[in-house]
Structures are given as C-alpha cells and as structure tokens.
C-alpha cells in the first residue's frame, strides 16, 4: 500500500498535465465543431473528398454535423492519448527506479519484486481510470450547449470503454518494456514508437482492401469508432484478443522483472 500511494503521489503531476492537455483538446475541438454543427454545406464539401482519405480520418462513418458523429471522429485522439499516457506511466514507474538510481534503496526494502511491480501497476491503472473518467466528464460538460440526445451518451460510454481498453493494452505493453528492456532508458520512447506504428497500421488497414489483415495487428483497429457506432457494441472477439495481449504482457513483465539484474 505504501508503494502504491508513493507512486500515485509521484505521478500526480503527470496525470494533471495529461488531464489539462485532454481538456484543452476537447474544448478546442468542440469550439471548431460549432462551425459545422447542423450545417448541410459541410457534408457537400466532404462528399467531394477522396474516399480513402475520408476513411483514414474515419470521416466516412460519421455525420460530422451531429455531435455524435463529431465525437466519432474525435475518438482516435482519445485512444492515442490514453495509449501514450498509459504506456508512459507504466514503463516510467518501473524504469525511473534504475534511472534515478533508487533501486538500491527501494529493492533492498523487504518487499518482493512482484509486490513492487503490482503496486506500480495498480498506481498506473488508477491513473488510467482517472484519465478516462476525466475525459468522459469533460466530454459531457463540453457539448451541453448542443443538447446531445441519449444516443450520444450511449456512444460516448462505448467510446470511453474502448479508450480504457486501449489504455489497458498499452499499459501492459509499457509495463513489459519497462520490466524487460536492458536499455531501460529507451523503454518509454519505444512504447510511444509502438503506439504510433500501431496507429499508422490502423490507417493503412482502412485505406486498402488487401491490407485489411493489419487490423489484427493494430489495437486501434480493434476498437474502430465507425464499427462501434454501427454495431452499438465493442466487438467481443477483439475484446478477448485484447485481454489475451494484456495477460501475456503482464505475465512476461513479472517474469522478466523477477529475473532482472538491477544495478546502477
């Protein structure tokens, strides 16, 4: 419990910064949305754009002039931010002990390495929950003036669940990189690299039919906003796959950290 609380305190500043950026993103986006809210001209302009581009921006699935459609387009940014924040929290909480040379203190205390990893994982998970909850809260507050209907709230809750699922996947990936990488200093940037690569793959997989298999590789495609909107649910197949990835990463992380040589 003491490690968990210390970790929370140590990452509080980072959580506040991420929340601040998220609030800013939503507020700016919603103020832009006011330009095409309920404007049919906007749809005509979009119709003239190449379909592949629209697909890439997930503009094809949504009617951008409604607040629900607008939030469908926004989803990828929530997913990206949730993923990067989660991966950084998880990998950094592990690697900072070696980077700041505090392992000789923290791991000479009478605690097992598994307990240390669990406490840090729980702290990072708490941050993720708070971050999603904050995003959710700001989203509800920001669109009040457009009088969103029940469908919006339903879709928003699905989006937030998807954001949380993506966060969990990259939380586990970040933890694994932090625990396993010998060159621990680059664990965080490696995690961000993987996230951006996954994002690019998700774009390519939508642009061309013969690249569709990429959707199995990119977690961003597991939770495609257009798909969620159409089916009104998160795909159970991809949820199971996500759970599998999380599980494998977590187990590997514990195994790797228990075998790891910690020295400064």
């Amino acid at each position: 419990m003491n490690i968990y609380l210390r970790e929370l305190k140590a990452s509080l500043k980072s959580l506040l910064i991420w929340c601040g950026v998220m609030a800013l993103l939503i507020l700016i986006a919603v103020s832009k949305f006011s330009a095409f809210a309920g404007d049919p001209e906007m749809l005509k302009i979009l119709d003239t754009m190449p379909p592949a581009l629209l697909e890439a921006m997930s503009l094809r699935a949504f009617n951008l002039t409604t607040v629900t459609g607008f939030y469908g387009v926004m989803f990828i940014y929530f997913g990206l931010m949730g993923a990067i924040a989660a991966a950084m929290w998880a990998s950094d909480s592990i690697t900072k002990e070696e980077r700041d040379k505090t392992v000789e203190f923290s791991l000479v205390l009478p605690v097992s390495r598994s307990r240390v990893v669990t406490a840090k994982l729980m702290a990072a998970l708490t941050n993720c929950v708070l971050f999603v909850a904050f995003t959710w809260g700001v989203s509800v507050a920001a669109v009040q003036s457009y009088q969103p209907d029940a469908a919006y709230y339903r879709f928003l809750s699905l989006e937030m669940a998807a954001m949380f699922a993506i966060s969990l996947i990259f939380l586990a990936v970040g933890l694994l990189l932090g625990c396993a990488m010998q060159r621990y200093k680059v664990a965080g940037s490696t995690a961000v690299g993987i996230i951006l690569a996954a994002y690019m793959l998700s774009i390519f997989s939508g642009m061309q039919e013969d690249l569709a298999f990429l959707k199995w590789i990119s977690p961003f495609k597991y939770f495609d906003a257009g798909e969620i909107y159409r089916s009104d649910q998160l795909d159970p197949q991809f949820l199971a796959l996500s759970a599998g990835i999380v599980l494998v990463c977590l187990v590997s992380a514990y195994l790797a950290y228990n075998r790891r040589d910690l020295y400064i």
Binding site: S112, L262, Y263
Partner: protein, 290 residues
C-alpha cells in the same frame, strides 16, 4: 550456522567479469572486512547477497536462507549503506525515513529520532537539497532504523568528514557489541584495520586471502629492515623472503616462514641495526596486488 555463506559464487555481466568462484563465510557477531581495489567485485558481491542481481552460478545464503529464493524475508533483517546514496529526490528526510520504516513491522520512531539526532540530520530538508555527505548520513539512519541483525556497508565513509566518520565507527562498534554482524567493504585499509576482526581480500573478481586480522598481521609476514656496511643482498635470498630491496644503505624485505632462518643469517654478519615489525595492512595488501 554462519550468517553469510557464499559458495563458488560467480557473476558475469554478459561477457565481462563480476566475480569468479567466490567462497567465504561470515559468522554471527563478526565485523568482516572486504577489501579490494575499485572494480575488484566488492559491490557485485554485496548486490548478489542483497538479491539485486542474480548469480550466474554458485550459491549464497544469508541467515541460512538462499538469497535468490528468500530475498524479501532476508532483507527484513538487513541494513544496507551503499557507497553512494540515492533516494527519491522530492521527498523530505523525515518522510523518506518514515516511508522506509513503514516496511518493517513495529514502531521505529524512537530509534529514528535517536539516530538522526546522533547524525545531526535536518529532518525537514528535501533529499534533493542535500549534499553528498548529508545524503550519506540519511543513508546511515535509514540503514539502521529497523535494528537489523546484519549490516552491509559498501565504502561507508566516502563523503563523511572525519568527525562524522568517528561517530559512524562508534555507532557501528556499538551495534556490533549488541550482536549485529557487519559486512564491511572498503578500499581504505586503515578503516578496515581499525574495525574488522576478519578480512577477505578480493582481486580481479577472485578471493585471494581470507584471514583474521591478527594472524594476517602476525603469523604471516614480518617486515624486516637491516642496516649494515657492505651488505650483500644475495645473503638474504632465503626461501620466504619477498620484496627484497635496498633502502638507505640497508635492506628491506618481507618474510614469511620460520623466523629463525632469518635470525641465523643476521647472526652471521655484523649488523648495525635491525628492525622486525608487523607490516601494516597496507603493505600486506600491496603485496597481494602485485
């Protein structure tokens, strides 16, 4: 049962050597000095015993428990003072000590107060504002606050001023008198000589000698100086003589073996002056390092 038992312990970092085939035992209540130059493997040995790193081969146990499988249990009764102390920078000294104490059962506030008083700690300072020596003082309090049965000190006096060093040594002696076993690594021979009962010498990853202080100084080597006119160095080329060298018109050498052999030789020549003395640990040490 020995408090620390190390058998054929070997650690390679990839291909580079940490320690090779190290074996020794430390008994309860001892102050065991572990000497060697930088990079000999002193810290590697301590880190293996603290299970911060895993052995390549061999075995080590502390309190009779294997270090790789019983780490947390063992560390409950261990205090560790690293050569360079690093703590969470943003924390205050008081919070850091309380945080550390929270991992050990029982109330340690009295002992923290007592130790920090002795070490003249400023409890409200932030760790990041402390100098190297002041961090070390926090390290001393943190390493001792849970009254451990076994202390690991890795180059403990680095950064402490002489006054603090003396206080620190008094503290260690007092702890030792209470029955605390001390494992003390250093490359400063004087302090090892002052404190330890027994020493191990490590060089290039291997133990070259384990001996108790007294027999190392008395039974092993004598430092002999002879002054005489027309002294012939060849006369002292006896078995057991090492480091034979001229000095100020005389000769100086180390001798190990039956002292009568040297006395006989001395009796056969007219000498002006002879001194036979215990070598300092420094000299023994240099001898092992050549």
């Amino acid at each position: 049962m020995s408090i620390i038992e190390v058998q054929n312990l070997t650690k390679y970092y990839g291909k580079s050597r940490g320690i090779v085939d190290v074996s020794f035992a430390v008994e309860e209540g001892e102050i065991f000095g572990f000497i060697g130059p930088n990079g000999a493997g002193k810290s590697t040995t301590i880190r293996l015993l603290l299970s911060l790193i895993r052995p390549t081969s061999g075995k080590a146990s502390v309190f009779g428990k294997d270090v790789t499988t019983h780490g947390p249990e063992i560390r409950r009764e261990i205090g560790y003072l690293p050569s360079e102390v690093f703590y969470y920078e943003g924390m205050r000294v008081r919070d850091l000590l309380n945080y550390s104490a929270s991992f050990f059962p029982g109330d340690h506030s009295e002992r923290i107060a007592e130790l920090s008083d002795l070490m003249e700690l400023e409890m409200n300072r932030r760790i990041s504002d402390l100098s190297f020596g002041n961090k070390k003082k926090v390290g001393i309090v943190q390493g001792l606050l849970h009254s451990p049965r076994l202390l690991f000190l890795d180059e403990p006096t680095a950064g402490l001023d002489p006054l603090m060093q003396r206080k620190f040594f008094d503290l260690i002696r007092r702890e030792n008198a209470r029955g605390v076993t001390v494992f003390f690594s250093s490359h400063i021979l004087g302090e090892v000589q002052r404190l330890s009962n027994r020493i191990g010498i490590i060089r290039e990853g291997r133990i070259v000698e384990i001996s108790d202080m007294r027999s190392l100084q008395q039974n092993n080597y004598k430092k002999i100086k002879v002054c005489a006119s027309n002294l012939d160095a060849a006369a002292f080329a006896l078995p057991g003589v090492t480091n034979l060298q001229p000095e100020n018109g005389g000769l100086q050498f180390f001798f190990k073996g039956d002292i009568n052999a040297v006395l006989k030789q001395l009796g056969s020549i007219p000498v002006e002056d002879v001194t036979i003395e215990e070598p300092t640990l420094e000299e023994i040490f240099m001898h092992y390092y050549e």
